[in-house]
Every structure is written in C-alpha cells, then in structure tokens.
C-alpha cells in the first residue's frame, strides 16, 4: 500500500534546484522524445518516398533514401489498372463505413438513451445481457456468423458484411453514460410542452449528445475502414472487397513491384489521415475516454 508520509524537512533543502543537472535531464528527455518521434515517422516517410521510386530502384542494395528520379508512374499504373478499379474499392469501403457509422451512432444513441432515462421491468437484466455480449470476443462468433451468412446466401455481399455490426454494445454503453448526465427537467419540460417521446429523442437528446456521437462516429469509421479479418472472410469475390483486403491481394499479385505496392498503401491510408487531421481532438479524446480499439 502506497502512502504519502510527510516528513518534516526544512524547506531550504528543497529550494536548492540543481540547475545544471535539471537542464541535462531536460535535454536528454527531448532527445528520447525526438528519437521516438523519428522512429515513428521514418517508416511512413519510407513508404511515401518508395511510392515515388521506380520498381527497379526499390529493389536496389543498398536502398536509396530519396528517389533518384521522382516518378508518378506507380500512381498512374494503379489508377489505370483495369483489374484494380480503385474507385470501386473505395466505394465498397465507403459503403461499409457509412453504413456502420450511421447505424452505430443511431442505435447507440437511441438504446443508450432508453437505458439511461426510461424505467421498465427487466431493464437491469437486459442491460446485464448487453454487457455479457460485449465481453464475447469476435473470434467466438466469427464462425457461426459466417455459417449464417452462407445459409442466407449473403457471402460476397456488402450487406452481409455490415449486418452483424448494426448494433454495437460498446456504443450503447457509452451513450448510456452520457445520457445519464442529461437533466431530467429538460426532458420533462419537453413532455409538458406536449412533445412525443420520439420528438424528445430527436429534438432534445440527439443535439445534446452531438460531441459524444461525433467521437463514436469517428471511432467506428476508423474501425470499419481498417477492418481486415471479417471482410476477408465474407468478401471472397474480388470486385466486392474492401480496401485492406484488396491491398493484400494486390501485394501478392505484384511480388517484386515494391514501389507499386507502396503507392497502393499510400492511397489506402489517405482517407484515414484526412479524417485524423480534421478530427484529431475528437479522436484522441475518444480513445482516452473509451478505451476503444
């Protein structure tokens, strides 16, 4: 057990800052932080620089850092590749992301609000059930979910991919927490004014939840954009695949063409980086607030 014992020590001892060592420590701290920074950024930099090299230059030993001849050829090849209509795969990924984000945000807000502000018999039981379902990791449900989809003929369908993620127990949990802090007076005032329960939800609750919903929406966008295992299982035909799945296919179909693969990787990361740059504050807040991965 840690405790803070307060010993009586003359104040004068503390008021002797060892300035030189403090400065050295500070410098060392900066050095470590910058080292971490470089190690984080270098792989990204390498990817971007490689994507502007020729495929031959990428294979050179020892590797070059900056491209000898800066070329956009890789990007041109990918964008014109008839076997890889990139727009189509962006479309697939965007469809999945939009559906996931909309459904997660809507159902989480609605159900979270209901659990927070409405009383009914069996509420605790139902909520306990949710928490239990939330604890079940996806590898347990992956196999039967796949079997259900194949029986329904939904393999290779984007609808089949998103159907199991329409309700997110975690999002419900989060929204319930936020709704609990809404003042009851606000809701009752609306009831007195004759608003129906749905109107209250849409006109009063949703606007109050905006910041939390934004965070949840961004997190689920990123989760959906980067998802790999489940889309790989469900989407077996090439045309319906999402970007991460098509990226690995592209990699194995183009061995020895490292620059091309790096360019494809860059193209796939661009949307997420755009989202990040624009919504940074929300994202970092969301991750710390929720512990969502």
């Amino acid at each position: 057990m840690a405790s803070l014992t307060i010993r009586r020590v003359p104040i004068t001892r503390a008021s002797l800052p060892r300035r030189a060592s403090a400065a050295a420590r500070r410098l060392f701290g900066y050095f470590l932080l910058t080292l971490g920074l470089s190690l984080t950024l270098l792989p990204f930099l390498m990817m971007i620089l490689s994507s502007f090299k020729t495929n031959l230059e990428v294979l050179r030993v020892p590797p070059t850092f900056f491209p000898e001849r800066f070329t956009l050829e890789n990007y041109r090849t990918i964008l014109n590749d008839p076997r890889l209509p990139l727009l189509r795969f962006y479309g697939n990924s965007a469809f999945v992301a939009v559906f996931n984000v909309t459904s997660t945000v809507f159902t989480s807000a609605l159900i979270g609000y209901m659990f927070a502000k409405h009383e009914f018999r069996g509420k605790r039981l139902l909520f306990g059930w949710f928490l239990a379902l939330m604890m079940i990791p996806s590898q347990i449900t992956m196999i039967p979910s796949f079997l259900i989809l194949s029986r329904l003929g939904l393999i290779n369908s984007l609808w089949g991919l998103v159907i199991f993620s329409a309700v997110d127990a975690f999002g419900i949990f989060l929204m319930r927490q936020f709704c609990e802090s809404l003042p009851n007076e606000l809701l009752d005032a609306a009831r007195i004014d004759g608003a129906s329960e749905w109107q209250i939800f849409v006109r009063i609750v949703l606007p109050q939840l905006k910041p939390a919903l934004a965070t949840l929406g961004i997190l689920s966008f990123m989760g959906s954009w980067n998802a790999y295992l489940w889309p790989m299982i469900v989407l077996q035909r090439i045309e319906v695949r999402t970007l991460p799945v098509i990226l690995t296919w592209y990699n194995s179909a183009h061995t020895g063409q490292g620059a091309l693969v790096m360019a494809a990787t860059v193209l796939i990361m661009v949307p997420i980086l755009l989202v990040f740059v624009n919504f940074q504050r929300w994202i970092v807040r969301g991750f710390t607030m929720t512990g969502f991965r």
């Binding site: 307060i6 503390a14 470590l32 950024l41 449900t141 992956m142 196999i143 259900i148 790999y228 997420i272």
Partner: protein, 324 residues
C-alpha cells in the same frame, strides 16, 4: 419531477403510456437483434462438439449430425494429448500466442510509460504535436503497417538489413529463417512483435498521458519539498496513483495481443515453419482454408478461456481499493 397537472396536456397515465410505447418500440427490435446474437453464440458453443466441415452436407438441423458427427469433447482431448498434425499445430500456436503477448506487454510498457512521463513533464507547446505523431500508427490500417514493415524487413533491399550491413553485421533473413533466434524466440517472431509494437504503442501513450495529466500537481510538489528525487517521485507517487490506468492498459494490451491476426497474416502467414503461427491465425486457417469448423470453434473457445483467465488474473493482481 412530476409535471404540474394544470399545464400538462396529457394525463399522467397517458404519459406513462407514451413512455411505455417508446420503450417497447426500442426494446422489441433490439431483443430480436440480440436473440440473433444469442443464437450465434449458441451455435458457436454447439459447433465445438461436432466434427463439422462446411464442405459436407450434414443433418437437417444446421447441418449437424450425419456426415458432420457429434464427437463430444474429443476435440479438447485431442488438443491436450493428441498426436495429430492439427493438435501439434494447436499447441504450437498457443505457445506462440503466449510468447507474443508476454513479449509485447513488458516492451510496450517499457516504451510507453517513460515516454508519456517525459512528454508530460516537459510540457510545452510541442506536446500536442508529439502526441499527434505518436498516435499516427494507431490509426493506420494494420494491413498497411504490415506491408511497410514487410518492405523494411526485405533481406536484400530492406532498410533494416541495410543498417546492419552499415554497422558491419551480418544481414538476417528476418521473416524466412526458421533457425535464427534471440532469447529463445525466433527472429521472425521478434520481427512481427516489433511491427506490432510500432503500430500499437501510441494508443497506450495517449492513455498514460491522460492519466498523468489527471494527477494533481500538489502531490508531486509535496514529495519534492520533502526532498524526494525525480525518480522517487515517479516510483512512489506517480506510479501508485496511475495504478488503475496501468491495470486498464495491461488488460487491453494483453487482450489485443492475444487476438493478433492482421499483421502476422500479412507479414508471415505463420511462416517460417510455423514460428509465427498464432492462435487466431490457426483458427482462421482451420475454419476457412481447411474447412475444419468444429475444430476451429473448439480452438476459439480455448482462446476465449485464455483471454478471460488472464484478464481476471490481472484484475486481481493490480486491484486497488482507494481513489484520489
């Protein structure tokens, strides 16, 4: 709480009725959806007692029975003491998963906690920028991360061997040499661990930074006034105060590293010689490449038990009874 009766347009029972209708309107579809979840769970549970393959036409109920026979707990018996290829591979995968998780956790903490502490104590206007950049890999698609590291580990043209050659060391076939190892762990495993750490560490950084920011400055000042060194302040004041966060971080890091899949599947697919075959990958291969779904369901159940066990253990070990 109760609306003043004079101004209320609806009677109290009318209001209760409206609320009740709303609750029903939400819970009924929800219950239907969640029953689907329970059905899925039940199916997962049943599957592990069958020798089920999606390639065969089984009995009338969910394809169980018939050519997909009931085998009881024999999958689990096989896992423990069987000599078949699958059983051996399962045990290898379990071992690799444990190696992976128990290597990732301490390394991750050793990087993130000091770095977060440094960042927090330095406190200037570049702090936000540092944090943003550290966080970048977390957001990146793990497939993309795997491909970047694949290029860097390339034995001929990769950067890591280029640095080794520059330093006068022997280049290493990072992802294809089954014999090379370090501390009893194969280099291929180290290679994927490193890539995983690179992608994942920013997440814990951000969590630690938030926890460190929440510690009242007075606590540290009080210790300083008592003449404690910076190191002692860190170990005796800061670390005990962020224990709940450490628990959370440990559990989350363990959970996600037990379920690692993307990076390993893309970088090695379990090679060389199953040195990086982790449980998730083994489950995936059995279920979707070899159609052994019953076996794979049993394996997922074991993984689930391991995950639960470790989580509960960590919760016991790192529990605190007090808050500040």
């Amino acid at each position: 709480m109760e609306p003043a009766p004079k101004r209320s347009r609806r009677s109290r029972s009318g209001l209760a009725l409206a609320k009740g209708r709303f609750v029903l309107g939400v819970t009924v579809p929800l219950l239907v959806y969640e029953s689907l979840g329970v059905f899925v769970l039940g199916w997962a549970f049943v599957l592990m007692f069958f020798d089920y393959s999606s390639g065969r036409v089984g009995g009338p109920v969910l394809g169980l029975g018939g050519s997909n026979p009931f085998v009881g707990i024999s999958h689990f018996v096989e896992m423990i003491r069987g000599t078949s290829v699958e059983a051996n591979l399962f045990r290898t995968s379990l071992k690799n998963t444990l190696i992976f998780a128990f290597a990732v956790l301490p390394l991750n903490l050793a990087i993130t906690l000091p770095l977060a502490y440094l960042l927090e104590s330095i406190g200037d206007r570049f702090k936000a920028l540092y944090r943003t950049i550290y966080f970048l890999p977390v957001l990146t698609s793990s497939v993309g991360v795997a491909l970047i590291w694949l290029t860097m580990y390339n034995p001929q043209s990769g950067w890591i061997n280029a640095i080794l050659r520059f330093l006068g060391a022997q280049p290493v076939s990072w992802l294809s040499d089954p014999r090379a190892g370090f501390l009893g762990i194969s280099v291929a495993m180290w290679a994927v661990i490193l890539a995983y750490l690179w992608q994942d560490y920013g997440y814990n950084m951000v969590i630690f930074i938030a926890a460190l920011q929440a510690i009242p400055q007075e606590f540290k000042d009080a210790a300083m006034i008592d003449g404690a060194s910076a190191w002692r302040v860190f170990t005796r004041v800061t670390v005990p105060l962020i224990r709940p966060t450490m628990l959370f971080v440990c559990v989350m890091t363990m959970l996600s590293s037990f379920q690692v899949f993307d990076i390993i599947q893309v970088m090695t697919d379990g090679d060389p010689g199953y040195r990086t075959q982790v449980l998730m990958l083994d489950i995936y291969k059995n279920a979707f490449r070899y159609q052994r779904l019953g076996w794979a369901a049993a394996e997922s159940f074991v993984l689930f038990l391991v995950v639960m066990g470790v989580t509960l253990l960590q919760m016991r070990l790192l529990r605190t009874e007090w808050e500040y």
